[in-house]
Symmetry: C2
Subunit: 518 residues, 2 copies
Amino acid sequence: MQRALSVHRSDGARSNFPNWYQAVVREADMAEISPVRGCMIIKPWGYGVWELIQKELDKRIKDAGHDNCYFPLFIPLSFIAKEASHVGGFAKEMAVVTHHRLKTIDGKLQPDPDSKLEEPLIVRPTSETIIGDAFSRWIKSHRDLPMLINQWANVVRWEMRTRLFLRTTEFLWQEGHTAHADGHEAMEETLRILDLYREFSEKILAMPVIDGEKSANERFPGAVKTYSIEAMMQDGKALQAGTSHYLGTHFAEAQNIRFQNETGELTLCHTTSWGVSTRLIGGVIMTHGDDDGLRLPPTIAPKQIVIVPMLRGKPEDADVLGFCHRLTDALSQMKVYGQPIRVLFDTKDVKSADKRWNWVRRGAPIIVEIGPRDVANGVVSFMRRDSLRDGDKVKSHSMPRDEFVAGAAGLLNQIQATLFAEAKNRLESNIRSDITSPGALAEYFGAGKDDDEADEFKGWVRAPWSNPTGAALAGIEQQLKSLKLSIRNAPMDQDESHGPCIFTGEKGVQDILIARSY
Amino acid sequence: MQRALSVHRSDGARSNFPNWYQAVVREADMAEISPVRGCMIIKPWGYGVWELIQKELDKRIKDAGHDNCYFPLFIPLSFIAKEASHVGGFAKEMAVVTHHRLKTIDGKLQPDPDSKLEEPLIVRPTSETIIGDAFSRWIKSHRDLPMLINQWANVVRWEMRTRLFLRTTEFLWQEGHTAHADGHEAMEETLRILDLYREFSEKILAMPVIDGEKSANERFPGAVKTYSIEAMMQDGKALQAGTSHYLGTHFAEAQNIRFQNETGELTLCHTTSWGVSTRLIGGVIMTHGDDDGLRLPPTIAPKQIVIVPMLRGKPEDADVLGFCHRLTDALSQMKVYGQPIRVLFDTKDVKSADKRWNWVRRGAPIIVEIGPRDVANGVVSFMRRDSLRDGDKVKSHSMPRDEFVAGAAGLLNQIQATLFAEAKNRLESNIRSDITSPGALAEYFGAGKDDDEADEFKGWVRAPWSNPTGAALAGIEQQLKSLKLSIRNAPMDQDESHGPCIFTGEKGVQDILIARSY
């Protein structure tokens, strides 16, 4: 049977992955590009996923002791200018507000020259500077520490090449900002959050990740250390899915965030920041999607079970509708993950075959189809989106009605586990550690071959290195860049002994992951 | 006993209301002004209230069939220019993005002239135009209608004089946008939402309101009809707390929102929009606050019960802490409004008297104080924030521990009811309907007296009018403005017969509310 999407992940020799991704986003009705350059419209099904991500993550952030706040969208230019390395990292890509009024001049609506701002305002690309300024006022004594703040907000970074969810000029995220009495505590916070992101990603998104430290050149502008979680997409590329930064005293110095310690001395705070964004939705799509469209983990599926009545314009239709109504009610009484199961009875005036494929493409975990025969036999026929097909054929299951209701939560758990296991297996089977020289790396990643072949699935390479800095590091990154590669991170919890550095042959001090990435 | 705030609502002759409001916001730690002109920082206690408002309102909006989406922050200038009356209403107060990069020139960071946008972007003051553009693509057939969309977002309107929560350059809100097949359905939606806002305001915020239609000159730019809910603050002024607009086909024409009806004709949609914002928090403060600070309705109190241990650095302290821990656990097991009771055991290293007054100022509905004697007797001593004092003296209640736990939900319900009844009584007792001429109106509202007296509590006037339009209406509004008055709305569900128009003596066709306002 034909696939529900017209574009597949690959047609054998050639990868269609970017086109497939676009098709999934479109056909699952998640989001669309807007008439505003680089900005997206997140549609109900996509926004529903984001709301569930927010709910689960927000709970974890609060349970870890953080309070939500809201800070201004605009940042005065002078704030940005204060932290030099921060400027370097962000100054090139920000939306600048220069006027506060429009006026019709010569018949054309335009910014009123008389409304020019004395100091331009930047639309926040991130909020370290404006939140740091608040911290400098809020923090006086060691009793005020740690200060643990989080914000859910929109941010803007002027991007040249955009892709829905993965890189857009405006996106939605949470940004945590904390201040601590010393570096040790701040590092603990940085790593606590990294682990929180890992657990969240694996448990809620069913997306396995590798957590580790970014190289010196890949740090957040102004950070002392940057950590990331990296997920493997189905084209073998890495997606940086979240970051956690230890900022040392850089921002505290620039913004005068000091506290009186227990002996009365005025001391600089150590700060952290960390965030994940709507990019996670792109990660979910590229981790779980298949050639029939999206597959959603039940934890973040806006509808976990969708019921499609098979109506034929005949008298039996009334029985089918009645059966579906009662089934919807019964399922809604059941709980999964401590919440009522999210059930939709799809009564739209659309052909039932179209409804089926619509929900397949949108990735509803369980799609129930009820016809007169099911009603007569008291059974429920359904498809599992995690294992839709047997070969090319769509698999339909059938189960006595009460058994289905009683087992629905268990079935959703199973689907969640299957999706995670599949992705985990992909990640674990596709990290090579047998590539030990720049030459082998270049050969493996197809230097010199044409672009199509270079886009084949390659996975990641894990290799020891000597952790160089300065010009040596820059040279290595340049070399990797020519292969379209980058260092993703140095995974946490490594053994102490390492082979020789893949780049220099010197003594290796840690392993790093090398990959193509988004 | 002294009041917990240094600034009171009035000192007898003279109203301190604006200063009192500022003091409550500051002392309850709700929000503060930011270094960005006109923008506020919403602090954890204030943001916690907003989150609860969001949760309750979001549920109602979804239950009424609306889907949440997210649309871009920026709106192309040309979109704004399309709807002429919309331009007139908003063009004067918008943040305009003109550049997308900063550059250091002559040692100074500034907008890079090479990054000037071909078309300036407006930071959304509201989203009719950008959402209407999406509707024009999404809506094709009558099967796509009604289209029911909501968005939670930040918006920006350049305000000259700002006041925390009540009027700020950036604020948070929800904006609903719907499209319908005909005007009848769209009007039904407009009024359904107006009623939803009224019910929400009364039940959740304990803030009684009067719902009604705004006069022609007070309509939303581009609307055919605008409705509002109006609440009476403790200084007698009206606060417009939410609006619902029937937009007719104005935006549909400007943005080409058409559908094929059942007979195949291409037809214009009728649209609506409606919103409430963080302004509601200002309304809650000015409705319920007293001279000891904020009083929060339990429904939206981030902590409904706060437990303060009375520690003396003595061995009994351990018993007190143990008792408090067990009490916190027991209360957290209880439910109110279908959710676990939100209890905080305040273990901060601060004097217990300071804690008490801190929670009084923040408006926690029940403040429990536990000392060794309470532990010995197995009782709970507590204060009710809705009725904190008897005369000047603070009232403390005492109750057997198990009885307190079992009755906690009931007590919270009582507090909610008391706050609502107090506000409802204030509203109902302070609408005069015995003022029947412009002269009487001017005399009552103190024309010609000095400003202090003019700020005395006056309440509202309800009077019949002839519902004039054009120059006649403009004249009346000018006359009212000179008395600092305005027409708030024409309340819903009026009798059919009316006395003569208060302004002209002609036949009255409906009653209107006249008041000072925020």
